[in-house]
């Protein structure tokens, strides 16, 4: 019955679209198969030169975001009517109900040199006005979908077509050759990787003992910030509670919060929290005591005490060429001698960290972490 209703709704939408109307898409929870077209989810859709959000779909942003070759990301969350809010958690991703759909659309500002030329920027959510993304100056790449089913979370990537009208399911992943142009006009060619279904798990299987994948971004400390909703600016945790997306937890000013960082070198006093926040969101989903990189003994979650497991004077376990001839993960006071920085700087598949999800080094991220290490007193003796 519900499926039939959804079908009817979808058909109605299609008709509406043919008549040139701009009703927002109607979100759909697909409980079994991954549909071939992103449109089937109704989370985002192209309409009138804009990528609009589905009815009841909420956009959000993170304090410090995972680096993915300078791609900008439009993140959304949707919980079906009646499924109830997600439960607050002080450390882990919120406990979202079955039916929840989370999407992340990767895009770049378009360059002037043709379809495959894109602009390097760290200005989060550029061209997004709180309710829609203006596509006139944008190259859409892919939209990843995380869906919470009865059996657990599932992930899929949808790659946008050259017409920038629709996105198709890509199970085996893809390379997309792009050229990144910076403000000075310097061009850098790279192969953007769309992950395959198994590779999604490389980052999202955050507890290898339990198995299965789960969201990484929607945690209190990443979400606890203000966001420009169409017309109003509000704290995301408070707004999510108002919208019925979240229940429980302390008021925003009592909840954990990573430093918001978007590429600028912070004042010296803020370098440490910014760097720890950066390592948290970029590394700690693997480098935790339950994650896939627990084999390394390097743990980068924000509550890890300063010591060997945070990398200080810690010999590598299975780094291979990743050591770069350096002896310890972090040599206090000497970023250049630290394996951590070497692996962040590299774009070689067997050296670079993270292992997946980038073909370029994050220049500003490397500088931030290097500044943090250089600030430390000591050395390894």
């Amino acid at each position: 019955m519900i499926a039939r209703l959804a079908l009817a709704a979808a058909a109605g939408l299609a008709l509406a679209a043919c008549r040139g109307e701009t009703a927002p898409p109607e979100p759909v929870f697909h409980a079994g198969e991954m549909p071939a077209a992103l449109e089937s989810w109704g989370q985002v859709a192209v309409s009138g030169g804009r990528l609009v959000l589905g009815e009841g779909v909420t956009a959000y942003d993170l304090n410090t975001a995972l680096f993915s070759d300078y791609a900008l990301k439009l993140r959304t969350v949707w919980i079906p009517e009646g499924a109830g809010p997600a439960a607050y958690d002080a450390r882990e991703a919120f406990a979202f109900p079955v039916g929840t759909v989370i999407t992340k659309t990767f895009y770049y500002p378009a360059g002037e040199g043709g379809f495959d030329e894109v602009v390097r920027t760290r200005e989060a959510m550029l061209h997004f006005d709180g309710s829609a993304l203006d596509l006139s100056g944008v190259r859409l790449i892919e939209t990843r979908v995380l869906v919470h089913r009865e059996s657990g979370w599932d992930a899929a990537a949808y790659v946008w077509d050259e017409a920038q009208r629709s996105a198709r399911l890509s199970r085996t992943g893809d390379f997309i050759d792009l050229t990144l142009v910076d403000a000075s006009g310097a061009r850098e060619a790279f192969s953007y990787l769309v992950p395959n279904v198994n590779q999604c798990a490389n980052c999202h299987e955050t507890d290898t003992a339990e198995g299965g994948i789960r969201p990484i971004g929607p945690k209190a400390r990443h979400l606890n910030r203000d966001f420009d909703y169409a017309g109003t600016r509000a704290n995301q945790l408070e707004r999510w509670r108002e919208l019925g997306l979240l229940e429980g937890g302390p008021a925003a000013d009592e909840a954990p919060s990573n430093l918001a960082w978007n590429g600028e070198m912070p004042l010296p006093a803020m370098v440490e929290p910014a760097a720890r926040g950066y390592l948290d969101v970029n590394c700690a989903h693997c480098h935790s005591r339950t994650g896939p990189a627990d084999t390394s003994g390097l743990f980068l979650e924000p509550w890890e005490p300063v010591g060997p497991n945070l990398g200080l004077c810690k010999p590598p376990i299975a780094a291979g060429r990743g050591t770069g001839g350096r002896l310890y993960s972090i040599v206090p006071g000497d970023a250049h001698a630290s394996i951590l920085v070497h692996r962040m700087e590299s774009d070689r598949a067997d050296i670079m960290m993270p292992e997946l999800g980038r073909a370029l080094a994050d220049t500003e991220g490397v500088a931030l972490v290097a500044a943090w290490i250089d600030q430390m007193a000591g050395g390894c003796g």
Binding site: G297, P315, R321, G324, G325, R326
Partner: protein, 406 residues
Amino acid sequence: MNAVKTGAALSVLLLAACGGEDQTRDVSGADRAYQETLMAALLDAEPGDVIEIPAGLFVIERGLSLTVDDVTIRGAGMDETVLSFAEQRQGAEGLLVSGADNFTLENLAIEDTIGDAVKVTDGDNVTIRGVRVEWTNGPSTENGAYGLYPVQSTDVLVEDSVVIGASDAGIYVGQSDRIVVRNNRVEYNVAGIEIENSNHADVYGNVATNNTGGILVFNMPNLPRPGSGTRVYDNDVFENNTGNFGHEGTPVASVPAGTGIIINSNDAVEIFGNRLADNRTGHVIISSLFTAGFSELGVSEDFDPWPEAIHVHSNSYEGGGNNPDGLELQALKLAVAGPLGAFPNVIWDGWVDPEKTVDGELPAELRICAPGEAVLNMDGPNDYADPRIVTLDCTLEPLPEVELDR
């Protein structure tokens, strides 16, 4: 007919590889289309599936991955089915298997991966059989780190396999429990076989030659679990004299060339019935974390750096110990054995946990025993001031066999 042709073509390729120094296998004529088929088969795999890979030379450009239980990946033989990663553009491993129980990989070759060749994590009942991993340009620091690398797994069997050219360890089992590594050949790796932070391992029937170090039993600090209970027996460990080509900073980079079997900071290790020959530094080395040269600041407080309950007995030794690696060991050899002499068959760095000694001796069950052998005590705790030949004439209870039901 097809199989014969493929075989002939492969042997030509192999000859070509041997003829040219430092040449990676030529893959210009290889099949490039099959990789999509294989990737899809791995993504769509369901429990019970056997993924058969036909004979042939296949180029794989992206790391392969599998996450499903009860899957077998099977080729037509380690010289017939070759997955070449010589043109790999992405992925830190050739094949990454994560969280998949009852996994079997057999009868194929994986060549020239950028990083590790086969990594298997969090699996219960892992079988790797008849697999050849090779970096076809020979030993080089540019080669990937690990050949066959099961980690955080239980009931692990690695048998009848061949690993050549790993810049770290050929066969490396880490942080695992109940392990059998048998009847493999490991050659021209920095470490041939390495058991690290693992419990209950049997390593037997293997041939380890031309590595920097033949067989390693290590514990590293800062990991969730220490290892103990490894038996190394009935192996041929000879001429492991290849210069160390590991990356500085990796644990194996400190292994001297010419090492047969080395234990570092591990406990309850029994080494017996092995045939050791012509390992130029030493046949059996027993050492502590202190000799590995790490910073004390970087070691978790609960780490036990002292090797204890080590039992070396009933091995046969021939040659070796006469030309140790590095100036310091050369000087030490000169001091204890003279210019024409050799180190004894067993070398021990001399570190003992002072908190466990009673009247200067370890309790019987924690001792280092090498009955009937002359042992070099390097006198590490006193800055190598008084290295001397000693005897460690004690015995320990035999360790139990590791039983896997296959």
